[in-house]
């Protein structure tokens, strides 16, 4: 490769003026580091959101009435029918819930939270896990007993470091005995169940929130469904939809009076959000690369002017247009590649630093593809922005150039 002969030459020329070369490269270094770090943060954020969503279970469906909790058309009857294992073997668990907001009081402490009436088998259709004590049992469910299971944060707010099990809290004037405390859900505030209190469904529907009836049946604010192993989530979701439309007597032209939410669709959403985010951040980074490229062009123009005499000499010694052009392009390219490599190094450093930072929950992950892309863009910038100064160099008249001081 004839081209390759110019690279040692270019390295030599860059070496001659180290400080300036470094300053010139700075734009590319920062540009590449910015692109890689922002892409790394975006992909780290995406994977942490994904794992958070996955922790919520991807085989779970949640049906809720259109227009929110109260006054909906979703009832205990719907839950009963969907929960029939003979008719619907594809559902491993079906649990109606009824939620409202209430203040929990314990002595001088109080905490606002969501109070959710649930059945004893609720844990099997959700991701809640007991840290201490136990969940509500079937007897308590049937008897509408005044017992409560506290979310992790709620327990902390009300009881501090005390053990809450067996103690009493007041909800809407009634005393409830704490039978269990949940594990922290570990997620961000986004998906947190940590400030929810769980009471028997009947208590929430009648005693606490006076749930309205629809066609003689108590309404519910959601039905949580776990899809049995071996059944596809999408199919199960369709089955729910068909069944509920039938049960609610909806005609062909009627819209659903309920909505079905599944975690998998949230995953898709998160995926598309992170793609958009990457494109946006990558675009901003690319702009900084362009600025870096302009910096290179600027310095290359200065270099060409400063070395006018040298260009004249090279002409006298027999350099062709091509030789002059390639020499300066190679210099710009070497500057960009060295700058790019330093930028990659810097981005790994910043990634490690950010990831190690306490309170920064995202693991910044720089993947090989973006490294290759960044180097490619830096090289392209070198050629694009190095071309003009290099062409200027070839245009110099040898006699004028030799006379230049």
């Amino acid at each position: 490769m004839r081209m390759l002969r110019y690279f040692p030459l270019a390295l030599g020329n860059i070496n001659v003026n180290k400080t300036r070369s470094l300053l010139t490269m700075l734009g590319i270094i920062i540009g590449v580091a910015a692109v890689l770090t922002t892409l790394g943060i975006a992909s780290g954020a995406a994977s942490s959101i994904t794992s958070e969503i996955e922790a919520q279970g991807t085989n779970l469906l949640e049906v809720s009435p259109t227009g929110g909790g109260q006054g909906g058309t979703l009832t205990m009857a719907d839950a009963r029918i969907l929960g029939d294992r003979d008719d619907f073997p594809q559902f491993a668990g079906v649990a109606p819930t009824y939620s409202g907001n209430a203040t929990l009081v314990r002595g001088a402490n109080d905490a606002g939270g969501q109070v959710r009436g649930v059945t004893a088998d609720f844990p099997s259709v959700s991701t809640v896990e007991i840290a201490d004590g136990r969940f509500l049992n079937a007897v308590e469910e049937t008897n509408s007993a005044r017992v409560v299971v506290l979310g992790h944060d709620l327990a902390g707010d009300l009881f501090g470091s005390e053990n809450p099990i067996g103690q009493e809290v007041r909800i809407a004037g009634d005393l409830f005995t704490v039978v269990g405390v949940l594990e922290a859900s570990g997620g961000s505030a986004f998906f947190s169940d940590d400030t929810t209190a769980y009471v028997p469904l009947g208590v929430a529907q009648t005693r606490l929130f006076a749930a309205p009836r629809y066609r003689g049946e108590l309404t519910v604010s959601s039905i949580s469904i776990k899809v049995a192993d071996g059944y596809a989530l999408e199919q199960a979701e369709q089955d729910v939809e068909v069944a509920l439309r039938l049960l609610h007597g909806l005609g062909l032209d009627d819209d659903n009076d309920f909505s079905i939410f599944n975690q998998a669709s949230l995953l898709d959403l998160a995926g598309s959000v992170s793609t958009t985010l990457s494109a946006l951040l990558g675009g901003i980074g690319a702009i900084s690369l362009i600025v870096g490229g302009i910096g290179i062009m600027n310095i290359m123009l200065v270099t060409v002017t400063e070395r006018t005499n040298e260009i004249g000499l090279r002409r006298a010694l027999g350099a062709h247009d091509r030789d002059i052009l390639v020499q300066f392009l190679a210099e710009a390219l070497v500057l960009c590649i060295i700058g790019g490599l330093l930028g990659i190094g810097l981005s790994y450093g910043v990634a490690a630093l950010l990831t190690a930072l306490p309170g920064f929950s995202i693991a910044v992950t720089i993947d090989a593809a973006s490294v290759v892309m960044a180097l490619g863009v830096a090289s392209a910038a070198a050629i694009i922005f190095g071309l003009y100064p290099a062409i200027r160099a070839t245009r110099l008249d040898p006699v004028e150039a030799l006379r230049y001081e």
């Binding site: 004839r2 002969r5 030459l9 030599g12 001659v16 005499n309 040298e310 004249g312 000499l313 090279r314 002409r315 006298a316 010694l317 027999g318 350099a319 062709h320 247009d321 030789d323 040898p398 006699v399 030799l402």
Partner: protein, 265 residues
């Protein structure tokens, strides 16, 4: 880079006929050369002397194919070169002509050896072959011990020797020097001129542009330029040592013979 390859061996190295050079400065035309005809034969040592602004450098640049004449013809070894394309002219500069400048024109912070390898780089010669030839050329100018030195580690005279080695390394037909001693003190000037004598004795064809008589009189032939025209062309009183069979006449001609015609049109 064989000399005389395929060309007529008797043809002059340089044959210039009726060359003019006019610079257009807005309304005013500056006639830097007003019709110069000149033959230089192989093995000659020619000095071109004249006052500042007389057109010496313009003539040099045309001989060196760095500039094109406004009119007239120019042949090297019988081959017409004045109308060749940029790229062919670059090749001829590389192969046939070695340049030496007043200000040495060395690359900063570059070793003597790398400087001398530069013309070989453009000839496509690299690696050990280039290194060997560069070292040979540096040895020839007496710098065999200083091949790793950079310009700032060399005296003015030594720097000019590096430049001369660089001019010689492609074994050109002709060495062109424009005021080569203009930036040197008298002692160093003498050393460089001694080196020219030596190279001339080895058969090299030299053209040295100067405004100093002391420099010009070292040459076997002195061409005087004034206001863009040749006004004198004479063999020197003390011709330099007789040379080589290739030198057809020059040194064996009697002293102070009139010039081979210098036509001013």
């Amino acid at each position: 880079m064989e000399s005389n390859n395929g060309q007529n061996g008797d043809a002059p190295v340089i044959a210039i006929d009726g060359v003019t050079k006019t610079y257009q400065m807005g309304e005013v035309a500056v006639h830097a050369l007003r019709g110069v005809s000149l033959d230089i034969h192989s093995g000659e040592y020619v000095a071109i002397i004249g006052a500042s602004g007389s057109g010496k450098s313009t003539l040099m640049n045309i001989i060196g194919l760095l500039d094109r004449p406004t009119s007239g013809t120019y042949a090297i070894r019988g081959q017409e070169v004045g109308q060749l394309g940029k790229s062919e002219q670059a090749d001829i500069r590389n192969r046939e002509i070695g340049f030496v400048f007043q200000r040495f024109n060395l690359l900063p912070r570059t070793s003597a050896q790398a400087q001398v390898e530069l013309p070989l780089f453009y000839a496509g010669i690299t690696g050990t072959k280039a290194r060997r030839r560069a070292v040979d050329a540096l040895t020839r100018v007496g710098l065999g011990e200083r091949i790793d030195h950079r310009p700032d580690q060399l005296s003015g005279g030594q720097q000019q020797r590096v430049a001369i080695a660089r001019a010689l390394v492609t074994q050109p037909s002709l060495l062109l020097a424009d005021e080569p001693t203009g930036a040197l003190d008298s002692k160093t000037t003498a050393e460089i001129l001694d080196l020219f004598d030596e190279l001339h004795a080895q058969g090299l064809t030299l053209v040295v542009v100067t405004h100093e008589h002391s420099v010009a009189e070292r040459a076997g032939r002195v061409i005087t330029v004034s206001d863009g025209a040749i006004v004198g062309d004479a063999l020197a009183a003390q011709p330099t040592p007789a040379v080589t069979a290739t030198n057809g006449f020059g040194s064996v001609l009697p002293t102070l013979s009139p010039a081979r015609t210098a036509v001013a049109q």
